[in-house]
Amino acid sequence: MGPTDDRGKLRSPENGDVAVTSTLNADLAALLSERSVTRFVYREARLIDDRQLEDWLDLWTDDACYWVPADETNGGLHRVQLVLDDRDRLGERVYRLTHADAHSQEPYSRTTHLITGVEVGEPDNDQVEVHAALALVEVRRGVQEIYAGRIRYRLRVVDGELKFAEKFVRLSRNDAVLGNLTFVI
């Protein structure tokens, strides 16, 4: 799943350095445990749905990548994307959505993120890869839209806290004709 160029390249447990696992200290192990990671992923969805986007922004690393491709070609950075935010652009997205004049979110979209099938990978040093299924129900002006897809998260422990280094969302409809997708996916 997903592009394979530098920005999206993952150090999966299969090809990573397995030996480091044993050197994880207890805190790191607790943070990267299935329970902790799953709670963190659910919390992210709740912050979006509750429109606490400033808090949501705090969940990301400085080198964050929030990525929603516009097709299935896995063409990476050489393709046009629906969303490809680094930390700066993520900040702009949140600023736009939390200030006036983002007309496409007036009225705003009410979203419900259903995150399920969470699979937490083996920690790789301070990182862990997580897969989940998404059903996103959006209601705006009384019209309900459903977007489904798969999410790949990459979480990292930074200064003793879990952060998202990457959230890669492969929407089933990504290459279909789409309406207003200006809410946070």
């Binding site: 046009v80 969303v83 200030h99 997708l181």
Partner: protein, 443 residues
């Protein structure tokens, strides 16, 4: 229907945007007769490549044959009318109808009919090949088709709007752009004519973008508060669309319209464009441009590359790095397909910068065009009321200047493009309906 009565010199009746019967007539009298933008030849780059396209409701295949020639074929088997090509894009020497096995070459030629002996006269390639779009012409890679067998050629049709296509294409050192990075397919619940060149709206419709650019300036200058920033309020994007901007609008005839923003990009060259050619990739890009066009022209090319902001009637827009195709689906539903145009023969970083800049403003999750779509939908809802049915397009009507070639020029905030598009609409619809009546009465 009397179409001339629905369009006044500075007003248009809202039924033009809401009446389904008028929409049906538009498919016949506009999309069925004029040149319509279909696609870019880089979408079918190699022999055998094909991509599905359309004109109005006609499903098309744009294919490139083994000799490298581009074809526009109606995607309809000549036997029982099933579409013969299903994949959005691909590479194939043949299109074979899966229903009864009729087979066509990728240039449309009928080459196989199953069990042909049962026909009194077996279907022949000469008469039963895939129907080509009656006329097709290509200007610098942009493929246009016309469903009318006769009419002016593409060059006459494009007129001065060709210069804007040149501005985009000339910024490639090889003189080629490529629409090979994929497409964003968006839609809005509104009429296709609501989208157009509009230099009046950016400071209001795109207020959130203006806010973001001010925030950037503030962060760069480490200004702490909004009030400090107020003193330093003016900046490039909003300035270009202020009431005192030197930028202009143009009605180029044929409904083709343009925003002329050269003055903004020229005066911002040092701050906005020059930094892009300071990187290693940028230096290489500038060197390649100088090699192709001469070192004296590099600055002009880089400025002009930011300037294309043109609507080619009825369904093509080129705005800086992106190419937009409009698909009228219903009177109140329009699909907007947006391709970032990449330059051929430049360092990869140059095109990636174009892609990332594109995503910022264009697309369903973007900060720019999503707000445009919202406005189009609000207009469509507002127009459900026809107590006061006239839509006002009067801004700057008294201050248009006419150039020698007939081009009308106005201030950037003037509704010169809107009047130009509606004038062409009324001309085409009137001509179409009178031709239709003439044909009907002669039968």
């Amino acid at each position: 229907m009397n179409y001339a009565r629905l369009v006044r010199s500075d007003q248009v009746h809202s039924s033009v945007f809401t009446d389904p019967r008028i929409f049906e007539d538009e498919l016949r009298y506009i999309y069925g007769r004029t040149w319509v933008y279909v696609g870019h030849d880089s979408e079918a780059e190699k022999p055998g490549d094909y991509v599905l396209k359309s004109i109005g409701r006609h499903p098309l295949i744009m294919s490139r044959d083994e000799d490298g020639l581009v074809h526009l074929l109606i995607n309809r088997c000549r036997h029982r009318a099933a579409t013969v090509c299903q994949a959005e894009q691909g590479n194939s020497s043949f299109f074979r109808c899966s229903y009864h096995g009729w087979t066509y070459k990728n240039n449309g030629e009928l080459i196989g009919v199953t069990y042909p002996n049962a026909y009194a006269q077996p279907p022949a390639a000469a008469s039963m090949s895939l129907t080509p779009v009656p006329r097709m012409e290509i200007y610098r890679g942009f493929v246009f088709g016309s469903l009318a067998h006769e009419g002016e050629d593409l060059e006459q049709f494009l007129g001065p709007s060709r210069l804007c296509i040149d501005m985009l294409v000339n910024a490639s050192p090889t003189g080629k752009v490529k629409l090979s990075a994929g497409v964003q397919r968006t839609m809005y619940h509104g009429n296709w004519k609501l989208i157009g060149m509009d230099g009046y709206h950016p400071n209001f419709g795109h207020k959130s973008v203006v806010n973001l650019l001010r925030r950037r300036a503030r962060l760069q200058k480490n200004l702490a508060t909004d009030s400090e920033q107020e003193a330093d309020r003016r900046q490039e994007f909003s300035d270009g669309f202020e009431g005192d901007s030197a930028n202009q609008t143009a009605d180029l005839g044929h409904g083709h319209t343009r925003l002329i923003t050269t003055s903004t990009w020229d005066s911002d060259y040092e701050s906005k464009i020059e930094p892009l050619v300071r990187s290693e990739a940028g230096k290489e890009y500038a060197r390649l441009l100088a090699e192709s066009y001469g070192v004296d022209r590099v600055r002009k090319i880089l400025v002009e590359a930011r300037d294309p902001h043109i609507g080619i009637y009825p369904n093509l827009q080129i705005i800086e790095s992106q190419v937009t195709l409009l698909r009228p689906m219903a009177v109140d539903r329009t699909e907007v397909l947006m391709w970032p145009a990449l330059f051929d023969g430049v360092p990869d970083e140059i095109n990636q910068e174009r892609l990332r800049r594109h995503e910022w403003f264009y697309g369903p999750s973007s900060f720019g065009t999503a707000d445009d779509s919202e406005m189009f939908e609000r207009m469509q809802r507002g127009m459900q009321s026809d107590i006061d049915p006239w839509v006002l397009l009067a801004r700057g009507a008294g201050r248009e200047k006419e150039l020698d070639d007939g081009t009308l020029i106005g201030h950037i905030t003037d509704e010169v493009p809107q009047r130009g598009m509606m004038r062409e609409w009324a001309r085409l619809m009137t001509a179409g309906s009178s031709d239709h009546q003439r044909t009907a009465t002669s039968q």
